[in-house]
């Protein structure tokens, strides 16, 4: 059973989003996603300053097994990327909801977070895939 923290929001494409106190939104991939991918060996992060809309491709995560696209859960402008993943992509496997975050967005409209799945709804998505 994968770990699905109740305080986060989720996209059906397995990204999580967390609204921070400074108004930015941190994005990563779920425990279910890192487990399905296996050992992560490379991250292609979006560039800081890039403006993307919800469900648009925001990068790629590569495991030994396969490459998988990362989508922006909500629209916004990329304001930070996790540089630590460049040299230590395995952090994504070890700590997907903490140090394994991918990038931060300044949201176009933080209200869009309400359109995402809560933990319970996301758990159902994971169940149908197993």
């Amino acid at each position: 059973m994968s770990d699905i923290p109740a305080e986060l929001k989720y996209a059906a494409t397995h990204e999580w989003a967390r609204l921070e106190e400074d108004g930015t939104v941190t994005v990563g991939i779920s425990d279910h996603a890192q487990s399905a991918l296996g050992d992560v060996v490379y991250i292609e992060a979006p560039e800081v300053g890039l403006t993307i809309s919800a469900q648009e491709e925001a990068g790629v995560v590569e495991s030994v097994k396969a490459a998988s696209d990362i989508y922006a859960p909500i629209g916004g402008t990329v304001c930070a990327v996790n540089e630590a993943l460049t040299d230590a992509p395995e952090i994504v496997n070890q700590d997907p909801y903490g140090d394994g975050w991918f990038f931060k967005l300044t949201p176009t409209d933080a209200v869009d977070l309400d359109d995402l799945l809560d933990a319970e709804a996301y758990a159902e998505v994971c169940d149908t895939e197993d």
Binding site: D39, V64, K65
Partner: protein
Amino acid sequence: MADKTPLFDAHVAAGGKMVDFAGWMMPVNYGSQIEEHTAVRSDAGVFDVSHMTIVDVDGPDAEAFLRKVIANDVSGLVAYQALYGTAWNAHGGILDDLIVYRLPKGYRCVVNASTREKMLDWFDAQAMTNMRIEHKPQIMLAVQGPEAINKLVAATDLPALSIKPFCAASHGDWLIGRTGYTGEDGVEVMLPVDQGLALWDALLEAGVKPAGLGARDTLRLEAGLNLYGQDMDETTSPLVSNIGWTVAWEPADRAFIGRYALQGELGAPTHKLTGIILEDKGVLRHDQPVETDTGAGVVTSGTYSPTLQRSIGLVRVPADASAECFVDIRGTLKKARLVKPPFVRKGKILVN
């Protein structure tokens, strides 16, 4: 519904993540592919390869049959010697690669899981008068790694094994070949279905790490070994697949299938299959386009190499391409370099 090997429940019990591979539910890993890979390079791992197809051929015409359908020549084999080769269609395209073991009576062929129906049909179609072809479901376990043989002996009541590389020995109902697909020492054990689970359990008990298809792929790629259906298929010949050495052109009068189609190509193959190392960051994958100084090529297999800790692959490129090249990864050209495989053998890195 995909087939299951007799060890399906044992894989699930060991934490195996089961996926459909060529119509078989097989473990892709048991948690970490990299740990499984490393165990085989440094200690010992075990792969269930019971999905592969074991075909026994015997009778007075067996040798003539195999000399007709396989481009390598079985005629020189002594009992318990093994031979790697390919079977071709009439155009010299590769139908499959296989290992043939010469047994005291007849031969045993091990062909791929993904080509089972095709090869069984092909063998039947080419069969000669006085011979028998029998497909025997068995358990086949590949025990691989520098400690593989020691741990196998410790786990069983087998005597100390002194099998030469690419040879085999029989012990009771078991056939043990000192063969593999990892670039490490080790054996492949073929045994009756009802004894398979006991051996699997004993190996795990002895500290042999269960390893899945994921590690099998990174290990074989580091060892520079082709995967049928990916690095070679019916549209490619051994001459452009880095296995020209497996074709026995002598004696000149051996009329194996495909010979005359390919003989003319012998002097100057247009392409070569070789190794590639990605210099930039990223991961090489099957089908990515390659740009060389003398023309276009393609990545046939690509992965992240746990031993080299960078991405490696096999590519088919123009025969005269020089080392510096580029790979198109999602629209970006990344720097890469052609190298002669293998990348890793017996735990040692062989490329710069």
